[in-house]
Structures are given as structure tokens and as C-alpha cells.
């Protein structure tokens, strides 16, 4: 969308596509590029180094932060994926001894999922390497630049949340 092949006439262009919208589009495309770049590299390294998929790593990361365990619905909401997609992943990790699944003590219809000691220890070994990969990805930014980026992304998050909360359009 950056370079239009067939130019619109000048008036339409001025009304419908003011220049500052182009800036924001470029900003969004760059944000997307950064995320895709880092994510695909993390995905590749997890596979090559640990033979682990990104969804599996993300699932274990969620559970590592929840020693009391989580229900499938909690996990699904946190990871923004459907219950259906999670179920197979959880089944496989229960079979391999990385997760423990038992009936909730507070709600007998719900099942609570936890990392086993094996799961936690394997996850933490991966997480340590993962952290150093991420640190290397941002290595060219000074401490001050990282702080600035953190603040600006915080502002972007708030702005996008507000815009998303509005009626579509």
C-alpha cells in the first residue's frame, strides 16, 4: 500500500489519504516487520535447539508463571488461541510427563493444568537461552533507547486498546 501503481487523482488522495495516515501505515508495517523477524527467529531456534514449537514454549511459559495451575479456559484466554487448538498440545505434554492435569478442587467440572517438575526444569533451561536470544536481538539499542522504546510501545498499547474498544470504523 506504500506505493500505488495507478495514482488516484489529487483531490481524492488529499481527502481520503492524508499524508499523516501514510506515516502511521509505515509505522505499523515496521512494527509488524520487527515482530515477525524476532518471532520467526525464536521459532527457528526453539525448533533447532530444543525440537520444540513456539506454541508449546508459550504454553509452558504461561504455566511457569502460575504455580497453582490454570484451567484450559484461562490458558486459552491468555494465549489468544482456541480451546480446541490447546487440547491436543496439552494432551501431548501430559503424555510426555511435562504437564499434570487434574480435576479442580473448587469446580469439579474444570480441570487444572500444571507443569510437573520435569516440565518446569525443561522449560527453565529453554527460557534462559530464550532470554539471551532476545537480549541479542535488541543489542544495538542503548539502555536509554530501550527505555524510550518501552515507553512509546506502552503508549501505543494504550492507544490501540482505546481505538479497538470503539465501534468499528
Amino acid at each position: 500500500m506504500n506505493e500505488r501503481a495507478i495514482p488516484l487523482d489529487a483531490e481524492t488522495k488529499a481527502v481520503e489519504q492524508p499524508d499523516h495516515h501514510r506515516d502511521e501505515l509505515r509505522l505499523w508495517l515496521r512494527l509488524l516487520t520487527c515482530t515477525s523477524l524476532i518471532e520467526s527467529e525464536v521459532r527457528r531456534r526453539l525448533r533447532e535447539r530444543f525440537d520444540v514449537t513456539l506454541p508449546r514454549f508459550d504454553l509452558m511459559a504461561q504455566l511457569d508463571r502460575a504455580p497453582q495451575g490454570m484451567t484450559l479456559s484461562d490458558l486459552s484466554r491468555r494465549m489468544m488461541v482456541s480451546n480446541g487448538n490447546l487440547t491436543g498440545l496439552v494432551d501431548r505434554l501430559v503424555s510426555s510427563g511435562h504437564l499434570d492435569r487434574r480435576t479442580s478442587e473448587v469446580d469439579r467440572r474444570a480441570q487444572v493444568i500444571r507443569l510437573t517438575d520435569l516440565g518446569r526444569s525443561e522449560f527453565r533451561a529453554m527460557a534462559t537461552e530464550h532470554e539471551s536470544w532476545i537480549a541479542a536481538m535488541f543489542a544495538d539499542l542503548s539502555r536509554l533507547e530501550r527505555d524510550d522504546l518501552m515507553l512509546l510501545l506502552g503508549k501505543t498499547k494504550g492507544s490501540a486498546r482505546r481505538a479497538a474498544g470503539r465501534i468499528s470504523g
Copy 2:
């Protein structure tokens, strides 16, 4: 990975997980949050407003920038998806009259895909709204803040590329 349930002993922590790695991890998680937030909102609006999927919109956006057309391999490389996943999408858009597919004049084994007039006009109507959605997502940032963010993301892109180019680890 932000809050560990069972703290590691202090020495291991200092050696393996220096504080600045935590900062970079938080930065990465925030980058990911911003991207997911905007992307899922765009996906939702494209569906509700135009009954169009994000991959379809992205495909048409690539072709809008290439009036001379693109081969399936070019498209696949640009969009970072497999040829297999693209083929079905292209087939459907050829059937609906949005795309035109013909044998390349320079390489008779390759097929060149182009937007038809219908495809281009439908895409541009969507692109105009899409641009205004994106502008709204970044509306809380001042012009200066957007410029800063653009620069810092440019630096991040370079840094991540360099890190990804290195041998894994």
C-alpha cells in the same frame, strides 16, 4: 517468564539471567502485545466490514504494489507463507474475478498473477479504510513520538537482523 514462581538461587540468577535480559524480554513481550492487538483488530474489522480475511487483504496489497504482476514464488517470499497455502487463496480470487493468472512471457514455466480492475478497485476501497483504522490505533502518539518510534523500530529491525544472521545461540 516475567515472574518466576520458584526463585532460582541468587548466584545462578546473576550469572544466567542478568537484570538487563529481563528488560529486553519485557520489551519483546510489549512489542508482541502491540502487534497482536493491532493485528487482531484489523483482522476483525476486515471480516466484519468487508467479509475478507487478513491473508487475502495482504495478498491483494502485495499485488497492488506490483502492477506488472508477481509469480507465486515472489508472493510466497514476500508474504512469508508457503506456496501451498497461497495456491488455494489465489485460486479462489481468480474464480471470483479479482485476480488474473497467466503464463509468464519471460519464463513459460512460471505463472504471473495480477489484480484485475475489479480486484484493484475493491482492494483500494478496503485499503483506504484500513489506513484510517491504523491511524486511529496510533492516535494518542504525537507526531514527534511517532517519528521517535519509527527510528527506534528501525534500529530494532537492524539489530534483530544482525542477531538472526549469526549462528544460532
